[in-house]
């Protein structure tokens, strides 16, 4: 690859040992900043007997206490209102308010200074450029421009690259599709659920085939697993006739991972973050491929609301192949984020990741995109029901699909399910973050 293929050819191809030197330097810097400017972090570190100067090598980093979402929630709602003691700059410097989606509870408030916001756009620019966004692209953003971070930074990153950005905010789905068609938009950013939903609306309500009637060439999918699940990615790419790239971030963390045009795993944006993987049960650090664990992440150079050794609960695994054909030296994850430690739960004694079910359902063409998994308890025994929709154009006997489905579910998850087939369009639809996995065992 030549330098024209990278947003920053120096950082993106830095030899690993140099990259790690840079990460250590930046980790020390943000740790010192947080200690000196955030009462929350100072109290946390003093309580653990840690001074910033104690961190001398990357191995020392595990001495630094972890943070998690519940701690951020606890610290907020106080002065400086509403961010509380994590805020590490004078509140007058805050220029944007954001909050998490609240999928897992009370939203976390997030302050952005103008500099931190520029950081967000910068970090997204690395991803979009790697996915082929250029100044000749017309990029459509069909999301509700609101308090959630969603694709806001994607908007500004596309602008930074020089793309022409079309904000499809308050339009409804049909109007968005028609606007993309009218303007011959070439790129799109949305959640996997909405990417599938828009294609469905285009076909059913507008009589349009997005792959033929629209001009979208690349799609950045974020906000949920989906583009990292091969069967879901395949469905999206076929429906739109476009390349679909996985992209991941979180309000508290910022954007931290992206798929490049090689589509061979999720690159971690290591010039902006340090990612550690911990064993979900033992907490031991996982450094080699072959085992999934929970991500602990530190964000560099984002100062208003530092994110240091944040236990994100995202379940990830190192990619077994070190080098990507794109030439970037940023390490990759195998299959992106495969689930959340919160969602990975023991059912009938087996660790179950809902994404494995999605991979099976969406690999079977006779089934629609939507599904729902419900775990209940009957006496002492766990019971799992998988509801699916029959694909709209399937006219055969759905029971003939059952043996293949049972076998694939057994193979991928090691479990048996009560299977329910429903008519197309009868299961709930989600606009942004889908909740297709329902564990009702604790509520009964």
């Amino acid at each position: 690859m030549n330098s024209g293929e990278y947003w920053n050819p120096v950082l993106e191809t830095l030899p690993r040992e140099k990259l790690q030197q840079l990460q250590l330097k930046k980790f020390k810097s943000i740790l010192k900043w947080a200690y000196e400017n955030s009462p929350f972090y100072r109290s946390l570190y003093k309580g653990a007997g840690l001074e910033p100067g104690d961190i001398k090598t990357l191995d020392d980093i595990t001495k630094v206490p972890k943070t998690e979402k519940a701690m951020l929630r606890e610290a907020q709602g106080k002065e400086p209102y509403p961010y509380g003691s994590i805020l590490s700059v004078p509140i007058e410097q805050v220029t944007e308010y954001r909050q998490t989606s609240g999928t897992t509870g009370q939203p976390v408030y997030h302050p952005e200074t103008w500099q931190d916001w520029d950081w967000s756009a910068e970090s997204w620019a690395y991803a979009l450029y790697a996915q082929g966004y250029r100044d000749y692209d017309r990029v459509f953003l069909p999301f509700g421009y609101s308090v959630n971070i969603a694709f806001w930074a994607g908007h500004y990153a596309a602008e930074k690259i020089g793309c022409e950005v079309v904000p499809g905010g308050v339009l409804d789905t049909e109007a968005r599709i028609l606007k993309m068609k009218e303007l011959k938009a070439t790129a799109l950013m949305a959640t996997p659920t909405y990417i599938l939903g828009m294609a469905d609306t285009a076909r059913k309500k507008l009589g349009l085939d997005p792959a033929k009637d629209l001009n979208i060439k690349k799609i950045t999918a974020a906000g949920e697993p989906g583009a990292c699940i091969p069967a879901t990615k395949k469905r999206m790419e076929e429906m739109w006739g476009a390349k679909v790239y996985d992209q991941i971030g979180a309000t508290e963390i910022g954007h931290w991972g992206f798929e490049c045009q090689a589509q061979a795993g999720l690159h971690i944006l290591e010039a902006f973050h340090l990612v550690e993987i911990e064993d979900i049960e033992t907490g031991a650090t996982i450094t080699e491929p072959g085992k999934k664990g929970s991500m602990v992440i530190t964000t560099f150079d984002r100062f208003a609301h530092p994110c240091i050794r944040f236990d994100s609960k995202d379940v990830i695994e190192w990619n077994p192949v070190e080098k990507c054909e794109c030439g970037r030296t940023f390490r990759r994850l195998k299959g992106g984020v495969v689930g959340r430690a919160d969602d990975i739960t023991k059912v009938k004694g087996v660790l179950l990741a809902p994404t494995a079910i999605e991979e099976v359902v969406r690999s079977i063409p006779e089934l629609g995109d939507e599904y729902e998994v419900t775990v209940t308890k009957k006496g002492d025994i766990d019971d799992i029901t998988l509801k699916m929709e029959i694909a709209p154009d399937f006219k055969g006997n759905i029971e003939a699909v059952e043996p293949k489905l049972v076998q694939q579910l057994r193979l991928k998850t090691g479990l048996r399910y009560n299977l329910e087939f429903h008519d197309y369009g009868t299961l709930p639809r989600y606009g942004v973050k889908a909740k297709r996995f329902k564990d009702l065992r604790h509520k009964e």
Binding site: P9, V10, L11, L14, K18, L22, T113, W114, E122, F272
Partner: protein, 58 residues
């Protein structure tokens, strides 16, 4: 990495930063200057992240 003049670029970035900071110092509190300088300084920080922070590492 030899084809990129990292240290030379870092010096220019530092010069930009000094110029912007000096502009703010002499602005007399004109908000139209101060607030736009703040935005310039944010962009300069992005240049530091992309280039200057590499000095001494590569």
């Amino acid at each position: 990495m030899g084809k990129y003049k990292i240290e030379d670029m870092a010096k220019k970035i530092e010069l930009l930063k000094q110029t912007a900071t000096e502009l703010k110092r002499i602005s007399g509190g004109i908000q139209a200057v101060d607030c736009n300088v703040d935005r310039i300084l944010a962009s300069i920080k992005m240049l530091e992240i992309n280039i200057s922070d590499l000095v001494g590492t590569i």
